[in-house]
């Protein structure tokens, strides 16, 4: 029976939640307002004067969406209640609608100046009441959404920070920072820049790893990676990859480094010194290992390289290949530089000419020098 009658009454406020606080010393007015609000689907609490209104507000305000406030009341009048609400950090966001008779329009104007959002004329018109209260409920919903979104953002930021920390264990710190930075996407997409590539690996490692126990091989590599890794970080290098005993590090990207060649050379020299200590210890265990480095400077493309699921931040260009070939050519304890790298650090290093090297894939031989060491005046200057 009457199947289509029930639904029509339930319109409007189903998606808006929140409670109204009615503050009026007239029991008749409170009763009418409670009734009108109930027909709009809105629950109400009542206060008979300003003092009990504030007690109610301070006791429980989380679900409150709006305050309907009379002006003339015993104990504490509407002005005082309004001023108290607006000066309370926890309550000031609450919309206050003044309940007003026709005689009180002057005081209503004053209340609106004090921060009331609107007024509700007497006698109450349910349609106007509904419109004004709904607007406040919509405001509350927006406010709640904003608060939720701020909380979600804080959680997101915390997650990003945690991921950044986690990433920095796997990526070089510069790349980890880049991934999380606003301009990261642009840099990851690829760009061209002059950069310095450093390849290094161990001489004699292949035969060592064939003859030694796997545990020994891994233990030695771990120590080698740890020591070299520290030096990479100290000099601001971007580690592209480890591969067994080989490492590729580049400089001047993603963070620009005006002294990128000097950093690369200083790092290589420091690595060679550090390696000497390691090698002396390994020699006592019967392992004969040497350390060789190739360094080349040139223009290259840098950015994200790889495929969905596994990307590296990498450097692509002739300089990378030259550095790899020089590293392969280097004898134990040699640090070989291409001409462009050498030109950038002439003042800094003592070198010996090793002649023009034929490198696979390059038509013409490449004049190459070996770094014997840093010039005395350069040794103490930090990289």
């Amino acid at each position: 029976m009457g199947g289509h009658g029930g639904g029509a009454a339930r319109t409007g406020t189903r998606d808006l939640s929140g409670v109204a606080l009615i503050v009026d010393d007239s029991a008749v007015n409170r009763m009418l307002l409670v009734r009108h609000l109930a027909s709009l689907g809105i629950d109400a609490r009542e206060a008979v004067d300003g003092k009990s209104a504030l007690e109610s507000l301070r006791g429980q305000s989380a679900d409150l969406a709006v305050v309907l406030l009379d002006v003339v009341m015993p104990e504490m009048d509407g002005y005082e209640v309004l001023a108290a609400i607006k000066s309370d950090e926890a309550l000031r966001h609450l919309p206050v609608i003044m309940i007003s008779g026709i005689d009180e329009l002057d005081s209503v104007a004053r209340c609106i100046e004090l921060g009331a959002v609107d007024f509700l004329p007497k006698p109450f018109n349910p349609v106007i009441l509904g419109a004004r209260v709904r607007a406040s409920l919509a405001d509350k919903r927006l406010r709640d959404l904003e608060a939720e979104s701020a909380a979600a953002q804080a959680r997101l930021l915390a997650t990003i920070e945690r991921q950044k920390e986690e990433l920095s264990r796997f990526l070089s710190p510069q790349v980890a920072a880049l991934v999380s930075s606003p301009e990261g996407e642009q840099l990851l997409a690829g760009h061209r820049r002059e950069a310095t590539a450093v390849f290094c690996d161990l001489r004699g490692f292949t035969s060592f790893s064939d003859s030694a126990e796997p545990e020994e091989v891994l233990g030695l590599l771990r120590e080698y990676h740890k020591q070299m890794g520290e030096l990479i970080v100290d000099h601001g290098g971007t580690l592209e990859h480890f591969a067994g005993d080989g490492m590729m590090v580049f400089f001047n990207d993603p963070v620009p480094q005006p002294d990128h060649v000097a950093r690369a050379v200083r790092m290589a020299v420091a690595m060679r010194d550090r390696f000497a200590t390691l090698a002396a210890r390994w020699a006592k265990l019967g392992y004969e290992l040497g350390f060789g480095v190739g360094i080349a400077t040139g223009f290259a493309t840098l950015g994200r390289i790889g495929f969905e699921g596994r990307y590296d931040y990498g450097m692509v260009g002739a300089a990378v290949i030259v550095a790899a070939r020089l590293s392969a050519k280097a004898e134990a304890n040699q640090i070989l530089l291409n001409p462009r790298a050498h030109a950038a650090v002439e003042e800094l290093v003592e070198v010996e000419d090793v002649g023009a090297l034929e490198l696979k894939g390059f038509a013409r031989p490449i004049p190459t020098v070996n770094v014997r060491g840093l010039v005395a005046s350069a040794e103490s200057v930090p990289a």
């Binding site: 029991a27 009418l32 009734r35 015993p74 008779g101 005689d103």
Partner: protein, 120 residues
Amino acid sequence: MSDELPILDVSGLAELRASVGDDENFVRDLVGTFLAEEPNNLELVAAAAARGDAEAVIRPAHTLKSSAAAIGAARLSSICRQLEFAGREGRSGDLAALTEEARAAWAATVEALRAQGLAT
């Protein structure tokens, strides 16, 4: 002046009824609340008037004015409005006569509400 206003404003009462979906039981409850709560305000007005305390008249006269208007008690509401304004303007000399008018209007209002079947 207030004599010109009806004790019960028929159109006001009709609006009230319409605003609550002609729920006669609710209107009766509302009138019951009025009759239970407002004599207190009338007595506060009378006591303040007897003391010549204009300031103390304002609040109870205001509340009674408002409640009376809500149930369509037009004359009582109007007299209470005059009391409220006399109070605000400090005209304590006017209070006694207005209070008498208010008492008479109160009795007439109760009578009219009974006649309407809204009070017992």
